[in-house]
């Protein structure tokens, strides 16, 4: 097995996700799913594994919606996928049915319908089909598509697309989708809400957050990659555990480190691994693209200097002695204010903290105290900010 950071993995090379995938198939029986995950945590690989190893009777159709910029394009894509799934016989039956029930005489004009009508027709056709398999849509990068529609056609239309899909899920109880997105769907919803168009588009969906691998799976992955690249002939527990832990058990970064050790012809020692990871964190060319954690603050929190406040909050938490050290809301408030953050009051802070939690910067422990979600990001933040 070769290190492959960023590429598509053979399903057999997707480690540690079997239990999650089983749970997702189980859930699909009763509801659609929204997958939240930090970028590069492997959600697309999870979907791809499900695509290539579907549990009967499910027939997944995977679509990357980044290229979709309008409601019409989206509806046509869904319509085409459905028709392809149904096959010629079903298509003909649907045509006849429409002819008789709706007096539709021109098959071509079906496509000339509004996007809403097209989408609805597609899902109706799907639900009425006599198929042994059940179609489920895996729609990747849904927030990107919605952002595109919002920018091109306005927030109202973006909200309408979401609400229409939701309505179809509710009306057609067997209709199933899995949404994923690198940017949080909550950001899109917040923008719509800010535009005066609130939508409850995800309330009916089962929401799951993909986390990094369990240590045992991460270590197994590390060991197999090191052996596959010829860097280690025998798996050493101390080495694989160091590698996995150094990168917070992110499979993407495990692949990266092994690929890097191979390129630099370094042996797999604890020192080399730690040194390599540190170098990625301080390299001016930012090979792990971690600067995004800093630059996206302004996009995520554009109002009231919230981006600056968020940065100060992260500074405060990064300065704690250990990655597992945490602070209460009040402690964060006083420390942030001491560092010059103009946080009006506790409520304002709470709102911001919750947003940062949803965006995977922070997490709360069982006492409600906050700390960095990922020690790796905390480490990078300290180095980047010169703390």
């Amino acid at each position: 097995m070769k290190a492959n950071p960023g590429g598509n993995l053979d399903p057999r090379q997707v480690y540690g996700r079997d239990a999650l995938i089983e749970m997702l198939w189980d859930r699909l029986d009763s509801q659609s799913i929204l997958i939240n995950a930090e970028r590069r945590i492997g959600k697309t690989q999870i979907l791809r594994k499900m695509l290539l190893e579907p549990r009967p009777p499910w027939k997944p159709v995977f679509r990357d919606l980044e290229k979709i910029h309008s409601a019409q394009e989206f509806a046509e894509l869904v319509y085409d996928d459905v028709q392809q799934f149904l096959g010629k016989a079903e298509k003909a039956r649907n045509f006849v049915r429409r002819l008789l029930e709706e007096n539709e005489t021109d098959y071509v004009s079906l496509k000339a319908r509004t996007w809403k009508q097209l989408l609805t027709s597609a899902v109706e056709d799907l639900m009425k089909a006599r198929q042994q398999q059940r179609l489920v849509f895996f729609w990747d990068e849904v927030p990107y598509m919605l952002e595109s529609i919002r920018k091109n056609d306005g927030p109202k239309l973006a909200a309408e697309v979401l609400d229409t899909v939701r309505s179809l899920r509710i009306e057609q109880s067997a209709f199933r989708v899995i949404f994923t997105g690198s940017i949080g769907l909550h950001h899109v919803l917040n923008r719509l809400s800010a535009a005066g168009i609130p939508t409850s588009a995800k309330n009916d969906m089962f929401q799951v957050t993909v986390t990094p691998l369990a240590p045992i799976d991460a270590e197994r992955l590390a060991g197999d990659l090191l052996q596959g690249e010829g860097i280690l002939t025998d798996v050493r527990p101390d080495i694989v555990s160091t590698l996995a832990e150094e990168v917070d058990y992110f499979p993407y970064y495990i692949h990266h480190v092994v690929a890097g050790l191979r390129i630099e012809q370094l042996s797999a020692t604890e020192a080399n691994i730690r040194d390599y990871v540190t170098r990625q964190l301080v390299d001016a060319s930012d090979p792990w693209q971690l600067a995004h954690y800093r630059t996206r603050l302004t996009a995520y929190y554009p109002d009231n200097n919230d981006a600056d406040k968020a940065a100060v909050i992260l500074d405060v938490l990064a300065l704690l002695g250990n990655p597992s050290d945490s602070l209460s809301v009040d402690e964060i408030l006083s420390s942030a204010q001491a560092r010059g953050a103009h946080v009006k009051d506790r409520n304002e802070l709470l709102q911001l903290l919750r947003a940062m939690d949803a965006d995977h910067y922070l997490t709360r422990d069982l006492d409600g105290r906050y700390h960095f979600r990922f020690p790796l990001i905390r480490r990078w933040w300290r180095l980047d900010r010169g703390l």
Partner: protein, 685 residues
């Protein structure tokens, strides 16, 4: 090429070179396309490939993995222009094409680097066309031509379906250069479409190159974020560069050049070039066109021809940026130092804010590098050669200086000879002990020194050394004895006696006269010392380049001069000696070499000035005194072009000795900064 290979082991791989030579019928002038490696015969590319075999194997394994499993790997090889990306990609194509194991599992589309695609459909057409060129029986260009009669949207659909169908059980390997330009041309929409295709139908591996990690692959909000494995192509190491020149010289049957490259002096010449050119692959390809044994030794001419050859390339690079950025680059080209945004803005009559943004962008696209000094950031060109193509006069100055700096150090050779040669000769004598004619005294001395060497106590056996020299009566050993007493024991009086003995036997022994001169200076016998040096240099009419230990001369003058006036006077005397020698040898003040291979004595003196920095004990002198050294030298040398670089380095070196703060070095350019750090012992040479 194993990076740890020692200098003496640098030999090219004979087999691949010989095979390539037999098959090629290209003239040596044309054989390596320096700007389009894809045009160079692949076997020749193979023969001169250095330093990256392991990396190439790595990428090949990734493609193997993609071809034989359900995974697909995408790689982005990145590095500045001339680093060897095209060479690498061309060789990768060649190896993949010839890989019998992979033949049925992959098809390769090597995209023509000169074409542009402004939409996804154009990109698909390019891919198909590339396949058609390599596999005409499978991917019909006639069919493609017919497809192009359809509307663009339909063409995209048809080609997509065709490729998906054709690669259901195989992998498509797309080799594409200048990925950032492709993505710029495709625009956001095209990029989204491409990513969607690759995600929904993962049949293709993209192996691409670019000059840097650009926004479209490194920004988390971009579609191709994290998509590629970025692999930086590092600059060639010094040994790689030497190996490259050696391989090319071998290929061109330049036996004397090959031999010279395998000598310390030849390798030092390459070292000098390396300081100018760094590990830029293209530079060595270009330089190789002008190299012969003689030209490499002389160095200035082939380097200047190389610069001339590279000028259109660098001019194009300068013209490819915006007008304001071009002004900034041109300003930095004309400067002998780094500049901060404030100074750049002042010189260009613009605001600091507008400059700040532009220089940051120039750093991102690889034109400039930056260094921080406190809160200030200083900028310089990332490629010193760009500046030198702009300022050819400077180039000559710098090349000459580097050539001198890296010349085999006669004093170092002497030191090594004394420390090891004597012992070796005693060991040899020891080996002859059993021979009837070996004097018993030699035997005893041999025992003594063997024991000394074993215990690491060479220095304490001075007496043995003295006696040994007396016993053998060889000129060389008298001289080595003298050197030993002067340099190791610091007993200059004793050393003088040995030098006198040498000169009794060999009155024209240049090295003895030079060393005697140094001893006399050390004994405050200034007039006699300079006279001895003058005498030595006047003797050396065959320009064997024995020019004395000028670093020690400066060191002695600095250390032993009692006040500023005497310091100045002695500096003037030293300069007087070397100016006279330079005049006598036909160096009239410019840098032209008067005879084949001879060194300008004033450049040698300049070299010694910089090297004298290590001889200054800054803990024992005040800042005022240190500044006095600078003033005294400037007084005499400021108008001499030979001293332009040395004076600059000396000033910064003295500043370092005063403050012990390397931050000041950011104000001087590479490779001068590198030289200065070497001269102060701050970097391993």
């Amino acid at each position: 090429m194993n990076a740890s290979t020692s200098r003496s082991d640098i030999t090219p791989s004979d087999d691949s070179t010989q095979v390539a030579k037999k098959r090629l019928c290209i003239t040596s002038e044309q054989f390596v396309w320096r700007f389009s490696p894809s045009q160079t015969d692949p076997e020749l590319l193979e023969a001169i490939f250095v330093g990256r075999e392991s990396l190439l194997q790595n990428v090949l394994e990734k493609i193997h993995d993609s071809a034989t499993s359900g995974s697909t790997q995408h790689v982005l090889l990145w590095g500045p222009g001339g680093i060897g990306k095209s060479h690498f990609l061309s060789l990768l194509f060649h190896r993949l094409n010839n890989d019998k194991q992979l033949h049925s599992a992959i098809r390769i589309a090597k995209l023509n680097e000169d074409e542009t695609s402004t939409s996804m459909v154009q990109f698909l057409v390019r891919v198909y066309r590339a396949l058609g060129r390599t596999y005409p029986d499978e991917f019909s260009l006639a069919w493609l031509d017919e497809v192009l009669n359809h509307p663009p949207d339909e063409v995209a659909d048809i080609l997509t379906r065709r490729l998906v169908a054709r690669f259901e059980k195989r992998r498509l390997v797309i080799l594409v250069e200048h990925l950032s330009q492709l993505f710029d041309s495709l625009g956001a929409e095209g990029q989204h479409h491409l990513r969607t295709l690759l995600q929904e139908h993962p049949f293709a591996c993209l192996i691409a190159t670019s000059q840097q990690l650009f926004m479209a692959v490194s920004d988390r909000s971009e579609p191709f974020f994290g998509f590629f494995q970025p692999i930086p192509l590092r600059p060639l190491s010094l040994q790689d560069a030497q190996q490259l020149l050696l391989k090319i010289a071998t290929f061109k049957d330049q036996k004397d050049l090959v031999d010279f490259l395998n000598t310390p002096e030849g390798q030092n010449r390459v070292r000098a070039v390396y300081d100018l050119a760094g590990g830029n692959h293209r530079v060595y390809i270009v330089l190789s066109r002008f190299l012969t044994r003689d030209s490499l030794d002389q160095l200035v001419a082939p380097c200047q021809r190389m610069l001339d050859d590279l000028t259109p390339f660098y001019q194009e690079r300068i013209h490819s940026v915006s007008p304001l950025q071009r002004q900034i680059v041109e300003l930095l080209c004309s400067e002998h130092r780094t500049l901060n945004p404030k100074e750049i803005a002042r010189r260009l009559l613009l605001t600091e804010q507008s400059i700040g943004k532009q220089v940051r962008n120039l750093v991102e696209i690889g034109y400039l590098t930056s260094q921080k000094k406190g809160r200030e950031t200083y900028y310089e060109l990332s490629e010193p050669l760009m500046r030198l193509t702009y300022e050819l006069k400077d180039s000559r100055l710098l090349i000459e200086f580097l050539r001198t700096w890296y010349s085999v150090n006669e004093n170092e050779q002497l030191r090594l000879a004394v420390q090891s040669g004597a012992v070796q000769s005693y060991l040899d004598a020891d080996g002859d002990r059993s021979a009837a004619q070996t004097p018993p005294r030699i035997t005893q001395l041999g025992d003594d020194l063997e024991l000394a060497e074993a215990q690491g106590y060479i220095v304490s056996h001075a007496k043995s050394f003295q006696e040994k020299a007396a016993a053998s009566k060889a000129v060389t050993e008298w001289f080595q004895a003298g050197y030993y007493f002067a340099e190791i024991k610091k007993d200059h009086k004793q050393a003088l006696q040995f030098y006198a003995k040498v000169l009794q036997v060999a009155p024209d022994h240049v090295a003895a006269k030079l060393s005697r001169g140094n001893c006399l200076l050390a004994l405050h016998r200034w007039e006699e010392g300079f006279a001895s040096i003058r005498d030595a240099l006047a003797c050396d009419q065959d320009a064997s380049n024995q020019l004395g230990d000028s670093a020690s001369m400066f060191g002695l003058i600095f250390r032993l001069s009692e006040d500023y006036d005497r310091l100045q006077a002695r500096i003037n005397m030293l300069f007087g000696v070397y100016e006279q020698v330079a005049m006598n040898r036909g160096f009239p003040g410019d840098l032209v070499q008067s005879k084949r291979g001879s060194v300008n004595p004033l450049l040698h003196l300049a070299d010694g000035l910089v090297k004298s920095l290590t001889k200054i004990d800054s803990d024992r002198v005040t800042s005022v005194v240190l500044q006095g050294y600078v003033l005294a030298v400037e007084q005499r040398a400021a108008k001499r072009p030979e001293f332009e670089i040395a004076l600059r380095l000396f000033r910064y070196g003295i500043r370092y000795l005063m403050r012990h703060n390397e931050a000041d070095f950011v104000e001087i350019l590479q490779p001068e900064r590198n030289i200065l750090r070497q001269s102060l012992g701050l970097v391993h040479t």
